[in-house]
């Protein structure tokens, strides 16, 4: 595809007035920050929910102050009921997966950084961009509204399996209006995500600067590209599934409800549906979704490891192909969530082979990250600490997947805390570390100020040691056979001996959770009081470091950058400095 030499055309004027500049902004940078703040708010709510979960498991009779004001039925006297526990974990999962891990890495950092890294002055469709943020915000509001309806939030988990989620309030508290609002919230989120995905794909394909061929794209851009394609295809299916579930709930249909059900002594007068249909549709979305959550973090890790090792990324092409392979194979493995669901065991075998296959490109990426460190000149700024942490956590989380991907082993481990350990390690921690790394790395560019390094290190140590101490023991709970989503250990005899493990986990969780306030403080304080940041504080090579911190409203002040080289030219023999920027025409006489 020929590179387009565009005229200097401002697709939108410089914004005037507070509302246009900061509220209903068309500027990808403002929208990126808005998404980031949405995710920041969501992660703190999600974190509080997780601490309530940890509290209830080990101190079930505790009175939580103010909780009875928020949910008088779910937590009378501030004591969490079994159904409220399930609401907490449903909202925790929903908030974290959708409103944190699907927003910050892609719509947050992607929106802010992508156009600048490819040399464009904005995303392809600024109005669509603004719309997708506000749609997402409405989705969040609808989700949080479930706390304030009489029967409370749904109790069916973020996975909302029917018939539990389809037959209405007869099956339990929260399954009436709360569940309906949940489905509506997710459907709204799908729309926001689809609009955003269209924008990313069009931008990457059409708005690259002259000289920015696909194979010169920073790996962050490749990650955002593959993620956007996954989002476009998978969220469409989730949206459809959500419509079907909504129809079963309020439209009298039976997509997921078979005949002959009797719930709370009432016969459900529906027939013809299949609960497995939901699982297929949901996980056809759900598996690509977890790659949506992790791929941007992989891109950031590559970017940060290279910058702070002063070395090119090891095996750039292999990294690109690995991301493409992960994206493609990610659509072929959804059945590994369904090995014991009643699905054909022959399908189980097929999905298992594909699951093992997807471990291969993941392994390639890990080897290449190690290869990037090898022979490097490592500096340990906060961003680098979190990138190194990402590699360690990705290895751990990925390896537990090797157990779960084998159906014979999954028979035992399915729906135990081993699964909880696996997805927390790989999503709830590794992906979050990608967000932290991205924050410490790009904060100077986004806010024109430096974050505090000492607080960054403190944050890293509390968090890194904390997450291993929280989630490693959960693997062992799974080996003992501790099922998931149990609001209490009191109903099953063999769980009694595991209480002390839960106590340990809960105590560490409170400490590590509190330590996140260090990050929040650093973030907010540095936004206003941090020392001014230069254009390129990390001496990095990609295009965002060629513009001021923060950049002007159209990024390149009317100019059009031209790209001459690959994105990770660090330590080039014979070069003037130990890095060469992508838009530098410097001629190097290398051997």
């Amino acid at each position: 595809m020929a590179e387009m030499q565009a005229e200097v055309v401002h697709r939108h004027e410089a914004p005037k007035g507070f509302i246009r500049k900061y509220i209903f902004s068309l500027d990808h940078k403002v929208i990126g920050i808005q998404y980031y703040l949405l995710a920041l708010f969501s992660v703190f709510v999600g974190l509080i929910l997780s601490l309530l979960i940890r509290l209830h498991l080990v101190w079930p009779d505790a009175h939580v102050p103010l909780l009875d004001k928020v949910s008088p039925l779910g937590a009378p006297g501030g004591v969490i009921t079994p159904e409220y526990y399930l609401s907490l974990l449903t909202l925790h999962g929903t908030l974290m997966v959708f409103f944190v891990l699907t927003t910050a890495p892609q719509s947050g950092f992607g929106n802010y950084i992508l156009p600048i890294q490819i040399g464009a002055e904005d995303m392809a469709f600024p109005r669509l961009n603004m719309l997708s943020f506000w749609v997402t915000l409405v989705g969040l509001a609808v989700l949080l509204a479930t706390f304030f309806v009489t029967d409370g939030p749904p109790i069916s988990g973020w996975t909302a399996y029917p018939p539990l989620s389809a037959v209405g309030g007869a099956a339990g508290p929260g399954l009436g209006l709360g569940q309906t609002l949940w489905v509506v919230s997710i459907a709204i989120f799908c729309i926001g995500s689809l609009l955003s995905a269209l924008n990313f794909i069009a931008t990457i394909l059409d708005l690259r600067a002259r000289g920015m061929s696909l194979m010169r794209l920073p790996l962050t851009c490749w990650a955002w590209f593959v993620t956007a394609v996954l989002a476009l295809l998978s969220f469409a299916v989730l949206f459809a599934a959500g419509i079907l579930l909504l129809l079963d709930r309020v439209g009298g249909t039976s997509f997921f409800i078979p005949a002959g059900l009797i719930v709370s002594d009432r016969i459900i007068p529906r027939s013809g549906g299949s609960p497995l249909l939901w699982q297929h549709l949901f996980w056809f979305f759900g598996h690509p979704e977890v790659y949506i959550a992790i791929l941007p973090g992989m891109g950031v890790t590559s970017q940060v490891l290279s910058t702070f090792s002063r070395k090119p990324i090891f095996g750039y092409r292999a990294m690109v192909y690995a991301m493409l392979a992960i994206g493609f194979l990610g659509f072929a493995v959804w059945g590994h969530h369904m090995f014991v669901s009643g699905m054909s065991p022959y399908s189980g075998f097929a999905f298992s082979v594909m699951t093992m296959a997807i471990a291969v490109p993941s392994a390639i990426k890990t080897f290449n990250w190690l290869g990037t460190l090898w022979g490097g000149k490592l500096r340990f700024q906060s961003a680098m600490l979190f990138a190194i942490g990402f590699v360690s956590l990705f290895v751990t989380g990925g390896l537990s997947g090797i157990f779960l991907g084998q159906p014979a082993l999954d028979v035992y481990l399915h729906d135990t805390w081993f699964v909880v350990a696996h997805f927390h390690m790989i999503m709830g921690v590794a992906a979050i570390f990608g967000i932290f790394a991205g924050t410490y790395y790009w904060f100077p560019k986004m806010f024109g100020r430096m974050m505090n390094e000492r607080l960054g290190r403190l944050h890293f140590w509390f968090t890194f040691v904390g997450v291993y101490a929280i989630f490693m023991p959960m693997h062992f709970l799974g080996l003992v056979g501790h099922p998931r989503r149990y609001s209490s250990l009191s109903g099953v005899d063999f769980l009694a001996s595991l209480m002390n493990v839960h106590v340990f986990i809960s105590i560490v969780a409170f400490i590590a959770g509190a330590a996140q306030l260090i990050f929040l403080f650093n973030l907010v304080w540095s936004m206003f009081k941090g020392p001014r940041a230069p254009a390129n504080p990390w001496q990095a090579t990609t295009l965002e470091w060629t513009v001021p911190s923060p950049p002007p409203f159209d990024n390149f002040a009317g100019k059009h950058p031209v790209v001459y080289r690959s994105p990770y030219e660090y330590g080039v023999p014979g070069a003037k400095q130990d890095y060469i920027m992508q838009d530098s025409a410097e001629k190097v006489s290398a051997g």
């Binding site: 549906g273 299949s274 298992s352 500096r379 080996l479 109903g491 099953v492």
Partner: protein, 266 residues
């Protein structure tokens, strides 16, 4: 800083390996025929993943320390990669992971692709919010039909049997716990009255969802007598955590006595 990172990584690796090695929190005893192969596959997977875990984490720790910037003006090695290494470790990873999967396939096939031995004892398992019911076919060897409109928990007709009119239902035995004779193949047929549940007995290494609208057969042979917990492993509502029953594996004679006892109470 580099040294601390390396030491912490090494410590995490050491503690994890020790906890696995010492089997501090571990699987319970296996009492099923197919469970032996599962446990063996677990062992192989632990060894392989353990080796990879140790090599990767200690490798990371070593590189972090070895290649730290010592402020000595040394330049980083300018390398874009090494195709030979890429091919090597890609092939190695593929062989290890896919090989592991094919090994595990044999275990899965043994459990799932063939039915139980002929003459297996059939038992129907019905799950509901938040209770397990088990049904034995009685001397006629047939399960009578269930009628949803006759289900009445308050009078003890949990499955909706019409013992008056359906011949096959007359001798069905419905119990709240599951008893089986040791060393005899058993076939469970799993059904649900309301939402999705899952039957899980750790010591049998057996788990299967109970899906409304489906009747799912699984089979096992128990090799050790004793009393084991049956728990629900699929979120089914607020009582999910206490949907619990018991599996009792007993000698053939004890089992016949138990069955007669239960039949008398129907």
């Amino acid at each position: 800083m580099a040294l601390i990172i390396s030491l912490v990584l090494a410590l995490i690796t050491l503690i994890s390996v020790v906890l696995v090695w010492a089997q501090v929190w571990w699987f319970p005893v296996n009492i099923s025929v197919h469970g032996r192969a599962i446990d063996q596959q677990f062992t192989v997977t632990f060894i392989i993943c353990g080796i990879i875990f140790v090599l990767a984490q200690l490798g990371l720790a070593y590189f972090v320390w070895r290649y730290r910037d010592r402020g000595d003006g040394r330049k980083a090695t300018y390398s874009h990669g090494n195709t030979a290494w890429e091919v090597t470790w890609t092939t190695a990873a593929a062989i290890v992971f896919i090989g592991l999967n094919l090994m595990g396939f044999r275990v899965w096939a043994g459990m799932q692709f063939t039915g139980p031995a002929p003459g297996a004892l059939p038992i129907e398992v019905t799950g509901q919010q938040f209770q397990w019911y088990f049904r034995y076919p009685g001397p006629d060897g047939k399960f009578g039909p269930t009628h949803v409109e006759l289900v009445d928990d308050s009078t003890g007709n949990y499955l909706g049997l019409d013992r008056a009119r359906d011949q096959a239902s007359k001798d069905d035995i419905v119990t709240a716990t599951l008893s089986v004779p040791v060393n005899r193949p058993v076939q469970l047929i799993l059904r649900s009255k309301d939402v999705t549940h899952a039957f899980f007995v750790r010591e049998l290494r057996l788990k299967q969802d109970l899906v409304p609208g489906m009747e799912i057969p699984i089979h096992f042979t128990a090799t050790g007598t004793g009393r084991y917990e049956v728990v629900c492993a699929e979120l089914c509502g607020l009582g999910h955590y206490k949907m619990r029953s018991f599996l009792q594996v007993m000698s053939e004679e004890d089992f016949q006595k138990w069955l007669e006892n239960m039949a008398a109470q129907q």
